[in-house]
Symmetry: D2
Subunit: 136 residues, 4 copies
């Protein structure tokens, strides 16, 4: 288990480019907020798909660090994204992640993405991370 401060410091080092702000971590989940910049917009004023996938990926990574504890070598093995609704270009993306299984070598979690303040999700992600072998 790691605290919000520990995870935030760790993410700043591991993902120096990310704009994700960790709002909560623990209990097998995480909540992140990601401001949308001009580079992340698509014509029509909506948020690009890779931006949303990136936020979901970080949300899973953060949740894992909250649960088994800081695990630097955890690596994404798969992500399945369903895009549900057009996100608002002028609102931050909020990610709510919940781990479904924390195994010895694989973690499976889901992430629901919202435009801040809108109850209907804009995307749904299921992802798996592989964990490095633990030393005895």
């Amino acid at each position: 288990m790691a605290t919000l401060e520990e995870v935030t410091a760790f993410i700043a080092e591991e993902f120096p480019q990310t704009k994700c702000v960790v709002q909560a971590v623990g209990n097998g989940g995480s909540t992140l907020l990601h401001e949308v910049g001009v580079n992340e917009l698509r014509p029509g004023g909506t948020v690009s798909g890779p931006t949303m996938m990136g936020v979901a990926d970080v949300a899973l990574y953060v949740a894992i660090h909250g649960e088994p504890g800081i695990t630097p070598m955890a690596a994404t093995t798969s992500l399945t994204v369903n895009f549900l609704r057009k996100p608002a270009g002028d609102k931050p993306i909020v990610a709510e992640c919940k781990l479904i299984k924390v195994g010895k070598t694989l973690v499976v979690g889901e992430v629901t993405l919202y435009s801040q303040g809108t109850p209907q999700p804009v995307a749904h992600v299921v992802g798996t991370y592989s964990l490095p072998p633990r030393k005895a």
Copy 2:
């Protein structure tokens, strides 16, 4: 059907931020090359997952524009990514896309991603796009 020049011009307008260079399009597929910049690296000198997902998304989009023709309102509905090997941080990502089904409302395609010059793929993507209803 659209030519390489038409698709390149269209992508420049639709994805002004993309660094993807279309190398081939047609016959239900596309080949793209994407130089890797500092912002797309992860610690350890590897390419970030969202960068690869973004390239795959554009490769599908390009292949669709080559096949039924320029279709501005095509929208990604789902992407499933399997990360296979660590991409090299100092080599461009090459994407080879092949459409599996071009239906009236849904297109399904797969994209294999490589680090340029390396025969083993770094990631595999299956994606679906929805097409806007055609006018009679």
Copy 3:
């Protein structure tokens, strides 16, 4: 909207081979129970993957019939299954389905599968169905 009785009668006709019993339907979701027979076991006394995928597929189908109403031509377009834990061979599979998006042409939902009486899920499924065009 359709009642539990209407949906049960409809499923009996559409899926004559299914052993799924609909326990609840409505509010954008469904709950099903599926007894496990000898043909659905794998060596080691666990339930086969295709059995679980089949139950999830029916759960999505049932939830759709509860929500927009009976929709015979709804067809599965994709399913992503993550197998999480070994299901018990001597307990029914319980499926809890929740629709994430009900659009005009696409429905996205998730299904969590359990061995009856065990709180930890054995599998997680995200699926999409395409709906037939509605007549005006």
Copy 4:
């Protein structure tokens, strides 16, 4: 590496209910044929989704046994299926599997499913299997 005879004998033991006939195995792939019975049909004379997912699952399992060799404890961790076209109810399903990555703990492969004699695929599957830790 295992021969066609070895794999066929192994599958008969592991999947006693399967109707899949292994036609080829090796070189990181497999080809299977599956006769369609009455229980596997859906109204309209088409093949049920779980039947196709089951065939794809066995095709991956067979390909793995051909490649690293017989590996009884290999277990499916995820499957993503895209249904592409209506399969013919009166023709066997043919599965062509190709492994994309054979790692130490994870194998990723894709399977393309056809109605025998029809060049257009009816479904596409990407699946991952976890391998048991190897003894030194």
